[in-house]
Symmetry: C2
Subunit: 270 residues, 2 copies
């Protein structure tokens, strides 16, 4: 059997834009056919909550209690065998929020987790500040492909453009833009125009659905709780289009003036 | 005339929640009677855009060009005499996003800006990560009172709770919570319950208004563009209630489990 090339995918985006919902659902979608590891890189440490059913201890937290943690102290097996890790973050007001990501990567490296037979590794990374530990998944080539989640709102397009600057700076490879809808007028058209402008494309559009909250409250993904739903199908399609994606680019981020003009034209035109 | 005590106010909150709209409008409201300095502490560097009419060069940017910048290189006088400074941030993917805040504070100190006869200094600080330069306005007592902007959305309450952890950690003084509405059901009730739970109170409720975008597009505050509007009156009232506020607390942030239970009760009850 042709040895599949291990896919290492980083999902970036503004806090609250829908990264963890997307990461957990595509991981669940992959879990039928592939060995998947999900690494939460957000101080909120809730990426894997709907995969494991509840919050899991973070790497930073474990390291406070154990000098030499073992794999099972930090890697938790969730829905359909998906492996879950949360890097965690320091107490607010102390040190560097992104430090947890650096510490987690080093520990997983040391414990040989990356050398286990994994088909797909997915990083869920906070994108409001692209610095310190949050830039690591781009820089230290822990991930080979980056996807950015955005809606049609200015604030999330601003963050997406900023993340493109980080990807370009650190020689990352942008696989595409994922539109997580918030109900903005002409939202998909806006996000498609943005993706084209920065030299990329939209790889998936996720509509709003109340199945997300309904499954989330039970600590489950939509894929697990409503497997036959249209929303589950949409997450499966997104997982597929990412897996089959062959074209990766160095993004062409806009300057702040270009971005402001881009936004003005959108709102005047639509 | 009794020498008024200089007020140093820090406004924190999640990216995109409405901090700069609030900071610029209360600064405009104060400008009739007080000498005001606004310091943007967000890599977006757009806090003072509606006070000055356009973006101003950031401290970090100026320092790349001038070894010894003068006051007028970094302090710009905007609407009705309000002084404007933007700390700026490094290129995404490089160094520490919060560093611009540290650099700006040191430069303003060196240039004696803080020793000028100022009645009110307002810091507009990104609250998604409370670390590095973003924690400075709390820690190095550049500000004596902190107000947190939130909506009824879980994500912004999560950030507000996190900021409370930072304030508590760094012995800051919380003056109150500002509810910037996003149209969530029972929003004001939710934010009031949150404020009470962490030991504080709501000092103002700002409704959504399309006058914000209308004035923003012209590079103006609502106070400047629509001085007689109800929305302008609401910003003036907020400015007043902050100015007259006497009770400051050390916040009692919730643990993550408490916060999740708090959120669940809200959505089940309402
Ligand atoms: N497609 C969707 N439809 C409805 N709600 C959604 C959708 N995607 C995300 N959400 C909601 O948005 C909030 C933020 O999502 P989350 O995935 O936690 O964001 P992030 O990980 O980017 O911070 C969650 O409360 C989630 O329920
Ligand atoms: N009361 C309001 N009504 C309508 N829109 C608002 C209101 N407050 C803020 N906004 C909009 O929300 C967006 C984010 O506001 P901003 O003040 O820039 O947030 P922050 O500074 O917290 O990132 C802006 O586009 C602004 O026009
Ligand atoms: S590098 Fe980024 S995450 Fe780390 S302290 Fe600075 S701002 Fe915070
Ligand atoms: S990441 Fe930035 S703020 Fe954090 S410790 Fe390093 S230099 Fe300081
Ligand atoms: Mg998340
Ligand atoms: Mg702002």
């Amino acid at each position: 059997m042709k040895k599949r090339k291990q896919r290492r995918i980083a999902i970036y985006g503004k806090g609250g834009i829908g990264k963890s919902t997307i990461v957990s659902n595509i991981a669940a979608a992959y879990s039928d056919k592939y060995k998947v590891l999900v690494i939460g890189c957000d101080p909120k440490s809730d990426t894997t909550r709907t995969l494991y059913g509840s919050r899991i201890p973070t790497v930073l937290h474990i390291l406070k209690e154990k000098k030499e943690p073992k794999v099972e102290d930090v890697v938790y097996v969730g829905y359909n065998g998906v492996k879950c890790v949360e890097s965690g973050g320091p107490e607010p007001g102390v040190g560097c929020a992104g430090r947890g990501v650096i510490v987690a990567m080093n520990l997983l490296e040391k414990l040989g987790v990356f050398r286990e037979s994994l088909d797909i590794i997915i990083y869920d990374v906070l994108g409001d500040v692209v610095c310190g530990g949050f830039a690591v998944p781009l820089r230290e080539d822990y991930a080979d492909e980056v996807y950015i989640v955005t809606s049609g709102e200015y604030m999330s397009l601003y963050a997406a453009n900023n993340i493109c600057k980080g990807i370009k700076r650190l020689k990352g490879r942008l696989g595409g833009i994922i539109c997580n809808c918030r109900g903005i007028k002409n939202e998909v058209e806006i996000v498609e125009k943005f993706a084209k402008k920065i030299g990329s494309k939209v790889v998936g559009v996720i509509p709003r659905s109340d199945l997300v909250q309904k499954s989330e409250i039970e600590g489950k993904t939509v894929i697990e709780k409503f497997p036959k739903s249209e929303q589950a199908k949409i997450y499966r399609d997104l997982a597929k289009s990412i897996y089959l994606n062959k074209d990766f680019v160095e993004p062409k981020p806009m300057s702040i003036d270009e971005l402001e003009k881009f936004i003005k034209n959108l709102y005047n035109v639509s």
